[in-house]
């Protein structure tokens, strides 16, 4: 009877268990309405940016007779200073923004989780060493540093930009996670794991991190929003000469081309700003639901 319980579990194919997991995930997300709407909007923005370009091609043709026209059926968001369709630019311009933000948030979160937890759990000289590095990075003003770096390295690759931002954004999260690890370390179940000789990596990754997961996921999402603003800021200042069109480049171009001086050009400058704002709002709302996903009490109540 008992053995059947085990083997019955194994007969579940990978696909079914993945589907089950996804259903639980969606069910937990839907507990909070605002969070769920945020989640849906995030999904929509991702689809728009990644699947949209397959349908709507980027309009690159200059049309002198159609400069700064207001929305029509043909051009739902009007046209820019060269008569190109803005909607097609919005659809094609989200990919890079999301990619860079995701990459940066991913790198900084992984660094913060691994080293923050290790630092708190092991303590001693490991803790001192990690915290010194953290404090040094924390005191460097990031934006000016990126600006200076941009002058030396040509930041024309998005991946490079994302990695650089990721390598600079982790200290705050690391400090917060270290504090959590310090308190978790005192808990009986961590002591029991130590007594069972489960090893540092098991204790950090399997015992501690899952208990910090709600916090980590929320921090990841907020890290993404931070990275979106950071790259938009860098591009806007013209420090990152990225040629491909994306929302940040659109804002910069609109600004440089003097879009703020024309009444009809409001569509051009506002479109990418609103797109970024919607993305940010959606991510931040989604965090409300994300922490629910990792609550075992809710997860178990099938």
């Amino acid at each position: 009877m008992t053995a059947q319980g085990w083997e019955g579990e194994q007969t579940d194919s990978l696909l079914t268990s993945a589907w089950k997991g996804f259903r639980t995930f969606v069910r937990l997300l839907s507990y909070n309405r605002v969070g769920f709407i945020g989640f849906l909007v995030v999904i929509f923005m991702i689809l728009l940016s990644y699947a949209g370009p397959l349908i709507i091609e980027l309009d690159t043709k200059t049309k002198i007779d159609k400069i700064y026209i207001t929305p029509t059926i043909e051009h739902p968001l009007g046209t820019d200073h060269q008569g190109r369709d803005i909607w097609s630019q919005i659809v094609n311009g989200g990919k890079d923004v999301i990619y860079v933000a995701f990459l940066a948030a991913m790198i900084s979160t992984v660094i913060a989780v691994v080293f923050g937890t290790l630092s708190g759990f092991i303590g001693g000289w490991v803790d001192s060493a990690i915290m010194s590095v953290t404090d040094i990075i924390l005191t460097i003003p990031q934006f000016p540093l990126l600006a200076v770096l941009a002058a030396f390295i040509s930041l024309n690759s998005l991946t490079l930009l994302g990695i650089l931002m990721g390598l600079l954004n982790w200290p705050t999260l690391l400090r917060a996670l270290r504090a959590q690890a310090l308190s978790l370390k005192q808990r009986d179940f961590i002591e029991a794991a130590r007594a069972l000789d489960l090893g540092v990596w098991h204790i950090v990754l399997r015992e501690m991190v899952p208990n910090m997961m709600p916090y980590i996921v929320v921090s990841f999402a907020l890290g993404m929003t931070f990275a979106v603003y950071q790259q938009a800021g860098l591009v806007f200042l013209g420090l990152v000469p990225i040629s491909a069109g994306n929302w940040s480049v659109m804002i910069q171009l609109a600004w440089v081309r003097g879009a703020i001086f024309y009444k009809d050009s409001v569509w051009y400058i506002m479109a990418p700003i609103v797109a970024i704002a919607i993305l940010q709002l959606a991510i931040i709302s989604m965090t409300r639901s994300l922490e629910l996903v990792f609550n075992p009490r809710l997860r178990a109540s099938e």
Binding site: M1, D188, A193
Partner: protein
């Protein structure tokens, strides 16, 4: 036979400078394999600290802890790992001792998997991953049956919050058993469990002692529990970091010598009103437990002791002396006076 665990003048300080506290003050204790030893004392007397030092979770400030004759602080890696697994702890609070994010299956499989990997790493024929997994699963089911969590299939996928306190404590025990320990420190293991299921938990623990040759250090504040669990073993009574009396359970319960032990025994409530009336309560001079930050001189119990001998008890720290009836007492005044309390 050599003792499985031996404490030699073990002392533990916490803090430093003016805030330094001596939680455990030079205690020595031998525990033979197969024995049950109860460590009894009120909260703050250092009994849990002692337990955690025995398990190696806290290093002693002074003195040595020996496992099978070897000092654990001087062991090489292989020996230490062996000790590490052989000595396990069961915590007091069943709500804090299980990881809330893991199911029972995960909690029990993790040490089994790690253990198994290390055991079989030497053998060349690495059995298939699937087979290993099945082995682990079978063993986990067995362990749950040993701790009476049946039907097993019902419990494997439960999270801690879906279990009662008693069930959680059983999971803790099953988890400790994954590494086939020889020695278990049960730190107030049943004190936070409903009274009605304490006895069945205790019975389960004593069954482990018989079936798996586990030696127990049972830490409790409740002499009645100690009496029930360790009738065939020994009781060691601690007061403010020192051992004040120890001896075979029957002697210590019926013929205790140290005034503190007598006070503890007098405080055990009896369900039977007739018995309760007959009980002799030792009138203490003070109900206040001195602060660890400012310990009394001499015998730390002298400010509360009704048998105080001025000039002796408040100056000299009494040594544990053997008595002919078994065990030893740290009270030169009362050590040969038979107890009034029965």
């Amino acid at each position: 036979m050599a003792p499985i665990i031996e404490l030699r003048n073990v002392t533990k300080y916490f803090g430093s400078g003016r805030d330094q506290v001596t939680a455990v003050d030079s205690i020595s204790l031998d525990i033979e394999p197969g024995e049950i030893v109860c460590l009894v004392g009120e909260s703050g007397c250092g009994k849990s600290t002692t337990g955690r030092m025995v398990v190696g979770l806290l290093p002693p400030s002074e003195g040595q802890i020996l496992y099978q004759g070897q000092d654990i602080s001087a062991m090489d890696k292989a020996d230490y790992q062996q000790y590490r697994r052989a000595v396990q702890i069961i915590h007091q609070d069943p709500y804090a001792s299980l990881n809330p994010t893991q199911t029972v299956r995960q909690m029990i499989a993790a040490p089994l998997l790690r253990h198994q990997a290390q055991r079989s790493s030497g053998s060349a024929n690495g059995s298939g991953r699937r087979e290993r997994r099945r082995d682990v699963e079978r063993r986990a089911a067995e362990l749950l049956e040993i701790v009476d969590l049946t039907p097993v299939a019902e419990f494997l996928d439960k999270y801690p919050h879906q279990l009662s306190g008693g069930q959680r404590q059983r999971v803790s025990v099953a988890r400790a058993l994954t590494v086939e320990p020889k020695f278990i420190v049960a730190d107030e293991a049943v004190s936070m469990v409903d009274v009605s299921i304490r006895v069945s938990l205790l019975n389960m623990l004593s069954r482990l002692k018989d079936e798996f040759d586990v030696t127990f250090l049972f830490i409790t504040h409740d002499l009645a529990l100690a009496k029930y669990f360790a009738w065939e073993g020994r009781i060691t009574v601690m007061y403010l970091g020192r051992i004040v009396e120890e001896g075979p359970t029957p002697r210590l319960i019926t013929d205790s010598r140290h005034p503190y032990t007598q006070a503890l025994l007098g405080a055990v409530p009896e369900a039977d009103p007739e018995l309760a009336k007959k009980k002799v309560h030792l009138e203490l001079r003070s109900a206040e437990i001195p602060s660890l930050l400012n310990l009394p001189t001499g015998c730390t119990f002298h400010p509360r002791c009704p048998y105080i001998v001025e000039g002796e008890c408040d100056t000299a720290v009494p040594l544990l002396e053997h008595i002919s009836d078994g065990g030893s007492v740290a009270c030169p005044v009362r050590k040969s006076e038979p107890s009034l309390i029965v």
